[in-house]
């Protein structure tokens, strides 16, 4: 009697195992299909991003922006003269010259419209 019960139990267990195996296999197949679809979408998006990056570089080309600035903003190429760097500016309350000696600059920078402004070099070492 016990043997018969055990027999039916293990046969049932075997049948359930087969079903479980089939279910796992089928789920895996479906998941792979979905994954492949998502990967295709990702590849498509990468491709689109790649195209957009290239297009951005083209529209942000300095030559193109210069032409647009001249045409629509009326700006022109102006001479650049960097007089100092941000780090060289004195902080609030500081004595800008400290005790450093003042030296004349190697040349005077042209200052349009303000002929009274002179530039000197301060040695900050």
């Amino acid at each position: 009697m016990i043997a018969r019960v055990l027999n039916f139990f293990f046969v049932g267990l075997a049948a359930l195992s087969c079903l479980a195996l089939y279910r796992v296999s089928e789920n895996t197949r479906v998941a792979n299909m979905e994954l492949a679809s998502v990967n295709r979408q990702i590849a498509q998006e990468h491709s689109t991003m790649s195209v957009l990056q290239a297009e951005w570089q083209r529209v942000a080309n300095p030559g193109r922006i210069q032409k647009l600035a001249q045409a629509y903003l009326g700006t022109n190429d102006t001479p650049v003269m960097e007089l100092s760097s941000f780090e060289m500016l004195p902080r609030r309350g500081e004595n800008p010259l400290d005790s450093n000696p003042v030296q004349n600059a190697s040349m005077t920078a042209p200052v349009n419209g303000n002929a009274n402004l002179h530039l000197v070099v301060a040695n900050r070492n």
Partner: protein
């Protein structure tokens, strides 16, 4: 009582049970394998498959700006027999793709079952074609090399005009193996500097109606080429916008070559800054007399000979070195062989096979020898960077790449003083930039045509180094046949020197180079 032996039926039952146990054990193992082990392997396999197929790699500038990329395009094919109305199909496709409607109509009416409608259409055009709703269309995926910025075209080069084509010029050819393998190339070029140089050259070339213009910006400590531009007059015969004249063309550069004669003389202690030479009435050597284009004093010190660019004085200085020493010196600076870089464009220098006294004198002031501008800037950088060898490169580098010592550091220091003197007291005045101590040398070389030097056809150039006390960058600019208001106004001091100064003024802030510290002091009377 002895146990009865098993009967046949019992043996069969045992065997059958054993087979069942084995079968279900196998099922159990397979279950574990599928549910646990294979799921891990599958995810890695799927991840590998998800990576895009290898296409030709990108080319980027040193800041990551895109210079070249393969973009997806499609070749459009059609099966005309699937069209309901071939004429309407031809009209719709012609409107969207831009191809000839007549050609399409003729092709659709013909006997071919498969017609190529358009090659390399963009994804946007593909969407428009699909919106036509025509049957019988097929898209074959392909790639096309796209160059968003044309400013560095002679350096970047190009590929064959087919999908997956190999490089045929410039970086595309020089780094073809790397790009084909899918490894991006990060160049030393800075497109901000490149554009600035190109724009300044373009404006100046147009201003002086020059036949061509070119420029190079080089890091003297790493050999990195930050910018290299070549421009030609589009109206001239033989116009080729893709030709890299700075790497592929030889030029007799003229007086900028005096840098090497003076460096050699200082290295060998054959002169000092104050050594005097008679130059006023020219210098006679053999049956030739070397004259200066401008009036010079009767006697000049060596430093003024360079500052005022006297050929007669320089010839005498070069002769103190002698032919053998001069030739060995130029060889050591790399000026007697072609420069090898990542780009295939290069040219062998031209110099006399018989190198005698006359040749030594003329080569001293830059005539009788032709080199590429790239070779010249490399040698000039070695003079000013402490006297150490560098190799020019178009790939981004890190750190100081100076090599062996090829001239004494003291010589390099003296040369820097001299070059600064040229700008403060000589022909290079127009190259100076407030806040950046620029040193340099002008060159106004008469061009050689048919064995004769033509007085009104000049190749003007300026070689600038900044900041002169601790050089980091060298800027070389060149104008081919500039036309000034007068002969004097066409010289380098009035054409190439201000061009170099303009370039330096614009690029120095981009290169994060602080100027000398300046403090504005209002004059008396201002509040």
């Amino acid at each position: 009582m002895a146990a009865k032996p098993p009967t046949t039926i019992q043996r069969r039952i045992v065997v059958a049970a054993g087979i069942c146990v084995l079968a279900f054990t196998f099922v159990g193992i397979r279950l574990v394998d599928l549910a646990v082990l294979k799921s891990r392997r599958s995810s890695s396999i799927v991840a590998d498959r998800s990576e895009a197929p290898v296409v030709r790699a990108d080319i980027l500038d040193r800041n990551g700006r895109l210079l070249a990329r393969d973009l997806p395009v499609f070749d459009l094919y059609a099966r005309p027999r699937d069209f309901w109305d071939k004429a309407e199909a031809a009209h719709g496709l012609a409107q969207v793709t831009g191809v000839s409607q007549t050609r399409l109509a003729r092709a659709f009416a013909g006997k071919h079952n498969y017609v190529l409608v358009a090659k390399q259409i963009t994804p946007v055009t593909r969407e428009k074609v699909m919106h036509l709703g025509l049957p019988g269309l097929e898209f074959q995926a392909s790639t096309k090399r796209f160059y968003p910025e044309g400013d560095a075209r002679p350096v970047i080069g190009m590929t064959q005009a087919v999908s997956g084509g190999r490089g045929i010029a410039g970086i595309e050819k020089g780094l073809n193996a790397q790009l084909t393998a899918g490894k991006p190339a990060r160049l030393s070029l800075d497109m901000r500097i490149q554009y600035t140089l190109l724009h300044s050259l373009d404006v100046t070339r147009a201003k002086y109606s020059a036949k061509a213009a070119g420029g190079i910006v080089l890091n003297v400590n790493t050999g990195e080429v930050l910018a290299m531009a070549s421009l030609q007059d589009p109206k001239r015969a033989g116009y080729d916008p893709t030709r890299n004249i700075m790497a592929a063309n030889d030029y007799e550069l003229g007086s900028v070559f005096k840098i090497f004669a003076f460096a050699l003389a200082l290295e060998d202690h054959t002169i000092t800054f104050d050594t005097t030479f008679p130059v006023g009435s020219g210098f006679k050597i053999g049956r030739f007399t070397i004259h200066d284009a401008e009036h010079m004093p009767a006697v000049m010190m060596a430093k003024d000979i360079l500052a005022e660019s006297s050929n007669a004085g320089t010839a005498q200085i070069a002769l103190r070195s002698g032919p053998q020493r001069q030739r060995a010196w130029l060889q050591n600076l790399g000026l007697l062989q072609s420069v090898r870089t990542e780009i295939p464009e290069r040219a062998r220098p031209l110099y006399p096979s018989n190198w005698g006294q006359v040749e030594t004198a003329t080569i001293g002031f830059g005539h009788g020898i032709s080199v590429t501008p790239l070779a010249f800037v490399t040698a000039a950088a070695e003079i000013v960077n402490g006297g150490r060898r560098i190799r020019p490169t178009f790939l981004k580098q890190a750190g100081d790449r100076r090599g062996e010592q090829i001239l004494k550091p003291e010589t390099s220091l003296r040369m820097r003083e001299l070059l600064r003197y040229v700008v403060t007291n000589g022909t290079g005045r127009n190259a100076d930039v407030p806040g950046y101590d620029v040193g340099g040398k002008t060159g106004s070389a008469e061009k050689n045509e048919g064995g004769r030097y033509i007085a009104h056809k000049l190749l003007t150039s300026f070689c600038a180094v900044f900041p002169i006390d601790n050089p980091r960058y060298l800027v070389f600019v060149m104008l081919d046949e500039p036309h000034g208001e007068s002969a004097v106004m066409a010289l380098a001091g009035h054409t190439a020197a201000p061009l170099a100064g303009d370039v330096i003024a614009h690029i120095a802030p981009m290169l994060e180079m602080p100027p000398s510290a300046v403090v504005p002091v209002p004059a008396k009377g201002n509040s």
